[in-house]
Symmetry: C2
Subunit: 190 residues, 2 copies
Amino acid sequence: MGRASKREEVAQAAFRQFHARGFNATGISDITTAAGVPKGSFYNHFASKDESALEALRRYGESLRFEMLTAPGRPPLERLRAHFAFLGRDTVENGFVRGCLVGNFGAEVADHNEQIRDAVKDGFDQWAARIRQVLAEAQDAGDLNDALDPDATALFILSAWEGALIAARADKSAAPVDAFFRTVFDVLLH
Amino acid sequence: MGRASKREEVAQAAFRQFHARGFNATGISDITTAAGVPKGSFYNHFASKDESALEALRRYGESLRFEMLTAPGRPPLERLRAHFAFLGRDTVENGFVRGCLVGNFGAEVADHNEQIRDAVKDGFDQWAARIRQVLAEAQDAGDLNDALDPDATALFILSAWEGALIAARADKSAAPVDAFFRTVFDVLLH
């Protein structure tokens, strides 16, 4: 139990540090200091910084509440809007920092680390597949133009979300997130 | 002339290193080694790594060939497509690496460095304003639905582009860039 909870603390600290600082700016000692454990103990729990970054990506994925996309009793496009509204609220409430860990690692690390690139790719693929499923349901329900290609549109919406978070961090304002909602839900999927 | 050309070499090397490696993974010695100058000579040309990063952002902006957006004799939306087609070709030909320096610094550095955040914000603002101008011209020419808000749409298109480049780097494929063209030009602006 002692070891398991220590690993949990180190994993959680790694997730927070990678999300707040980025991959390269996060040292092992940042993680162990944040977790309140000796620096050397990091390697009792993770074989490498890379391995803790992969675990951070898994934890980030779990924080995205994808179950909102499949919640019963709600029209598909309302579920999609609620999903991004939840993510958008997080960004606004945190003062427009940190963004999306998948996108951050994609921008900073994917070119240089094949294992992390694979995990980022998987993260995007699974996310886009979930969005695609909602769009296909909306088409089946007659709520969305059948001429839209669900695969391309899902990938596009996810890209637009990733970019909107980066622009919001630069602008320290919700304007890019507002432009996302306005264009995706009032124009593209209207 | 000696000093001016050395500064040019150091500035160009800094631009290339920041674009290829990112901000935090680029050390002064990476820049001076790439430029073929002694490490200590960096500070003859730049007061700090930050200052060379700001210069890199300026150089990146100049490489985007914004004049394509105002080229006479071409319909506005064709100019917009040509602009992104030029940028997309660059990404495909380079094997889906590096992405956009403005977006990269936005994702990696903006939260932690106010000067670089300002420069990223300016970069996005100026880019979005140029796209906005093209959209307004298309509306004036009757080529684009007047109901689209040019400000929000421009900001959205730029965000979508930034995200598409990150997804293309993760996927090592043109699929996210193709989805961008298909959705922006065949659906959103159609």
